[in-house]
């Protein structure tokens, strides 16, 4: 089979899987939030509301696509696509499992995999900041300026929490990192790094309690206030796909990827991977239902004065320990 055909088939399968997971992650979030707030959640469309994503999709596609008169047409239309493209782009290099012969299940196996994830992830901010700017309206602009500051600040601590894992694994390729966790998951030696990653990941995906970017009590809906119909839908998809991405990365870097815990190898590795990712997704939904939103200056102070020094300290200690024990 030629390489391009193989990549094409893998991409189509992955696209289908990711979009379906997005649809049901959205439904699951509404259901879980409902149960946590003592209400049933969506339950009208199909049994237990299982067809709700299809109804939502139909609604978004059929809605009118509005654009404010003051908007910048080109960038206004481009921004949702940048968001979506960077959100999906990461999946080109995320491995989901390994066959018995040691082949990894991924579209591309890149040597600098984890750095590439950081690189693509760092482009995601353009969708938000260009979209907010191009709307030509004040609330989106405020939201996008906030998001730019927030994402840049938290990216630093996030990258540093990655480096601790790199030092332990001695490689930047993602399957190498997972293989290095065959005995011990890195959440044990990198406990501090793991906590820092989980916190910064919430901030990077602009989820509650760090959703200052779209804080509805102050900014109407933040950067996507002016968007409607399918363009709003694209931003929405990008947010959930990003959530899925950070869950996958946390699983790969800190929770052993597709390695089975306690030698429970009769369950295949891919299943373990999915189980771990689902646990993370549930955790993020749980956070949204539990924690109130932070005040903006406290968010920035927390990122720069607590997380960044802590991540640096963690990296230095890890490096010293690895240098001495070899």
């Amino acid at each position: 089979m030629p390489l391009w055909l193989e990549v094409l088939i893998k991409s189509v399968i992955l696209l289908f899987v990711v979009v379906t997971s997005f649809a049901y992650a959205m439904l699951a979030e509404r259901k879980i939030l409902g149960w946590m707030q003592l209400r049933p959640g969506p339950n009208r469309v199909g049994p237990w509301g299982l067809l709700q994503p299809a109804a939502d999709a139909a609604k978004l596609i059929l809605k009118e696509d509005l654009m404010p008169e003051t908007a910048d047409p080109l960038l206004y239309k481009l921004a949702p696509f940048i968001s979506l493209l960077t959100a999906f782009g990461v999946y080109a290099i995320i491995p989901f499992g390994a066959s018995a012969s040691g082949q990894t299940w991924a579209i591309g196996n890149v040597n600098a995999g984890i750095l590439l994830i950081l690189a693509i992830g760092s482009l995601g901010v353009y969708g938000i900041c260009l979209g907010g700017w191009a709307s030509g309206s004040k609330y989106p602009l405020l939201g996008s300026v906030r998001s730019t500051a927030q994402m840049i600040s938290y990216e630093l601590a996030m990258s540093l929490s990655f480096v601790g894992v790199l030092v332990l694994a001695g490689t930047t390729s993602l399957d190498g990192i997972v293989n290095a966790q065959a005995r011990w998951w890195f959440v044990l030696p990198q406990f501090v790094g793991c906590i820092i990653y989980v916190i910064t990941a919430v901030a990077e995906t602009n989820r509650a309690p760090f959703d200052l970017v779209e804080a509805e009590t102050e900014l109407v809906a933040g950067f996507h206030t002016e968007y409607s119909g399918l363009r709003f839908g694209l931003f929405f998809i990008a947010e959930y796909v990003n959530m899925l991405t950070v869950s996958c990365i946390a699983t790969l870097l800190f929770f052993g990827g597709w390695n089975a815990p306690l030698h429970l190898t009769f369950i295949p590795g891919v299943a373990w991977f999915v189980i771990k990712v689902v646990c993370f997704m549930f955790f993020y939904m749980w956070l949204r239902a539990t924690l109130p939103r932070l005040r903006y200056d406290r968010l920035m102070a927390f990122g720069w004065k607590v997380l960044l020094p802590l991540a640096t300290l963690n990296l230095v200690v890890t490096a010293v320990v690895v240098a001495y024990t070899g």
Partner: protein
């Protein structure tokens, strides 16, 4: 080879767009395209690490700050008033200079003996030219002095910015200004509660 020509065309087009665009934001978007294309070009030259760093540092950090500043400036701001068109006077010397520079470049490239292309192993192998391990080894052994010197130069810039932009405040003053800010926030919250 086809990839190179396509990339080169995109690179030059986006570079021209960067300086020709009327709106500053379009310049940033064009520059973003330029950086991304450059990163792809690095990948085709099997400098994987350089490509990734190009995106993380330039596209992911520096360019975002450009957007940040432009967003604060507001939409459609022309930063400089368009003065008298001085192009007619300088196009001849500028053209001659550009041609001479290109001629020199072509001469230099044609006379220099190219080193044989380094062997590129399978993707994922360490110790391959351009890989992270290779890059790191070069950076911390052979190129250590330039690397540290660059760090020092950047440090000077950071200290300069802090000296120029930072307010001189004693500890007591800083404490006072913090308390003032806190009080303002609390009063604002109270006002909102009443209203």
């Amino acid at each position: 080879m086809i990839a190179f020509w396509v990339l080169a065309a995109i690179l030059i087009a986006s570079a021209v767009w960067t300086i020709a665009a009327k709106k500053p934001v379009y310049s940033v978007v064009a520059l973003l395209l330029n950086f991304a294309t450059l990163a792809v070009l690095y990948v085709t030259l099997s400098a994987e690490f350089l490509a990734v760093i190009q995106i993380i540092v330039y596209s992911g950090a520096i360019l975002v700050l450009f957007v940040f500043v432009i967003a604060l400036l507001g939409s459609g701001v022309a930063p400089f008033p368009t003065g008298p068109n001085r192009l007619p006077k300088i196009w001849l010397p500028a053209g001659i200079f550009t041609l001479a520079a290109f001629g020199f470049l072509i001469y230099a490239v044609s006379t220099v003996k190219m080193a044989a292309a380094p062997a590129t192993g399978a993707v994922g192998n360490a110790d391959v030219f351009g890989s992270v391990a290779d890059f790191g080894k070069a950076l911390f052994t052979v190129q250590l002095l330039p690397f540290e010197a660059t760090g020092l130069v950047l440090m000077v810039a950071v200290i300069g910015v802090i000296t120029l932009g930072g307010e001189q405040m004693s500890d007591a003053e800083a404490q006072q200004s913090r308390m003032r800010a806190d009080r303002a926030v609390r009063e604002a919250i109270l006002r909102e509660g009443k209203g």
